[in-house]
Symmetry: C2
């Protein structure tokens, strides 16, 4: 049994209703989903069967870490060592065969990750199996039927359990330390790199992270005209010196043991001007109308519309260049994370879903402002995890 | 033509000698190798043909960044937007078809990354295509023959060009700022998180990174008994308070526009004791004998042996638990990066190869010491990139 009985029961239910007898996954995020353990190096393989058996074939130097967050049965292997230069995949063969035989998987329908997806970084480097894992499984269990279960995994990740929500709240609390420091230190003359490093440092040293195995993440700072391009899929801190009156956007993706936040706040270096006040008023109101639209049964489209209509009312419709949000938690910054809060999204909100809400306005050559929260759909509305 | 004529000519030569008419790659490291551009989000696709044509199908918000480091012809696409919720792969179809037709690839032998590999992190999140890119290519150019060219790419990455060596040297110089700060601040009472954050911050704010598009990386601190387990495949900073007399290991993986370092230094909190002096003397000597063994024509085995024999002579043979090094530059921390400096490695050193040399000793419950440099094989010996 996995550490989180709620997730364990739900995964069994998902499998029972699916065309799969078992799921095999190696991407860290999906191993986390299935087992409660977020692998470091990406060379752990998780098995979850429809009768609730959970196994992780795991490099031996991650065993201690895994035991702290997962009660899955661990099958250690040694992916490298002084006595072999073998292809790491060859070293996986024996342990994988043991699990396949032990779980009686040779004649079953196995769901795998075959589609493209966005994976949060779990370390400085990470293993990717590409086509090789499915080839190896086909070799070890040739009578089984393999097919992609990417959509099922996407759906499973959308609604969080109580324990997962707690970890996301911890992640949000830890991330707050970085924003508090950014707000304190932003002033004309500092470079973006100085501010980002100060926020990052406050995040990395906060005692709020105590008890976590891995508190990990990224803070970015984009100022003045650089913040105007922050509607891109990625953030980037540069060496630009902040000028008096600049909009200064702090963006962060941080995680607590694999559960991610996606957060942005925008400050002004010096005294805010009228234009900045107008933009902030629009974003604050759009945030409020967006939050009001969130409840079980609402669609992503409806929530996006609530935010967008307010921005339009304030004359900032064209400046709000992206969707109002996307699923977060297992995903960090993935526009396809469920539920999608997008003009075309028919995704229906359910209690326990988590996503970001990010009203924003970007003005080329001038600057951008975004306020991005992480929220949970509750039984009767919404809870904001990031009230700071 | 790519910005780096030396790499461009070499890639043509590699393809000419290979069974492939073109290589198509999407992993950021291999896109960097083929084009000079290190993608952020992992959804750029590089094409390199045996007659030297280079194309990158690239998300439009990475175009400006790509133009600064690559002269490859860029074909922008929009992977997400307000007017579509389509599968991002579907949005790639048109641009990919254009490149395939333009390069006359429909009846050619195309090399792809199909094998497992270790990929450095390029951002907080990264796209993985898994099996879908090859499926899509098969759909768009069904008469072409697709096969894995992973080994060829591995070989191509081993020997760096003059420009690549310069960027690696810059990466080493920037990383040095973090180590200087760590050496300055380590003292009993600080937590590992405090020291790692201070080193990270110095790295992120140093002016040595000016001129780079992306100076990016990770600093870790492991002290006392925690440093004893630093022979693991990964490093991990904890909240432990450093005690007087502890060994304190600082490990970093950093990069300059995609070219990575793998670096470790070990300090003592307070006054070093005799045992620590003995370990350091052994490691210093092992480093010297290792460096002396490096020259074109030597094997990885010979270099590993030079280091290992010295550690054994000092009575630390069993404490030196891993190989003496592995290729770095395109790889960060990958034991299979070429050349492998390993007891069984027959990899032959050539001028321009870059790897780390990492004599170390780990004592369970007490601590570990490692000194990890990045070195280049020169025409007549070796150059250490990390003399700090």
């Amino acid at each position: 049994m996995a550490v989180d009985p709620e997730r364990h029961a739900r995964t069994i239910a998902s499998l029972t209703d699916s065309p799969y007898d078992a799921i095999v996954a190696s991407s860290p995020t999906e191993v986390l989903l299935l087992t409660g353990y977020w692998p470091v190096m990406g060379d752990s393989i998780a098995f979850f069967t429809s009768d609730g058996e959970v196994r992780v074939v795991i490099p031996e130097d991650e065993v201690e870490l895994a035991q702290k967050t997962s009660a899955a049965k661990l099958i250690p292997y040694k992916p490298a060592g002084l006595h072999t230069l073998a292809d790491p995949l060859q070293l996986l063969k024996g342990p994988l065969q043991g699990v396949i035989d032990g779980l009686a998987l040779p004649h079953t329908r196995i769901g795998l990750q075959l589609g493209q997806g966005v994976q949060p970084s779990s370390y400085a480097v990470c293993t990717q199996f590409r086509s090789r894992l499915v080839e190896l499984l086909r070799e070890l269990a040739p009578a089984s039927i393999y097919s992609g279960c990417d959509e099922l995994l996407e759906d499973m990740k959308a609604v969080k359990t109580t324990k997962e929500l707690e970890l996301m709240q911890t992640a949000a609390n830890v991330a707050a330390a970085g924003f508090v420091e950014a707000a304190r230190c932003i002033r004309p003359g500092l470079r973006e790199t100085d501010v980002a490093a100060a926020a990052q440092s406050a995040f990395e040293t906060t005692e709020k992270a105590e008890g976590l195995q891995r508190s990990y993440g990224y803070f970015f700072c984009m100022s003045g005209p650089n913040s105007a391009t922050a509607d891109a899929a990625y953030a980037r801190t540069r060496q630009r010196s902040i000028e008096d009156g600049d909009l200064v956007m702090i963006h962060a993706n941080t995680c607590a043991d694999g559960y991610w936040t996606d957060l942005t706040r925008t400050y002004v270096a010096g005294e805010p001007g009228d234009r900045q006040g107008d933009i902030r008023a629009a974003i604050d109101e759009a945030r409020t109308t967006g939050l009001r639209a969130i409840r079980p049964g609402a669609t992503g489209q409806q929530v996006d519309h609530a935010v967008r209509a307010t921005m339009e009312l304030h004359g900032f419709g064209n400046a709000f260049k992206h969707a109002a949000g996307h699923g977060v938690g297992f995903a960090a910054a993935n526009p396809n994370g469920r539920p999608r809060i997008h003009p075309l999204s028919t995704d229906v909100l359910k209690a326990g879903m988590t996503f970001n809400l990010e009203p924003a306005a970007y003005f080329e050559g001038y600057g951008g402002m975004r306020h991005c929260d992480v929220v949970t759909v509750t039984n009767d509305g919404v809870k904001v995890m990031t009230e700071f």
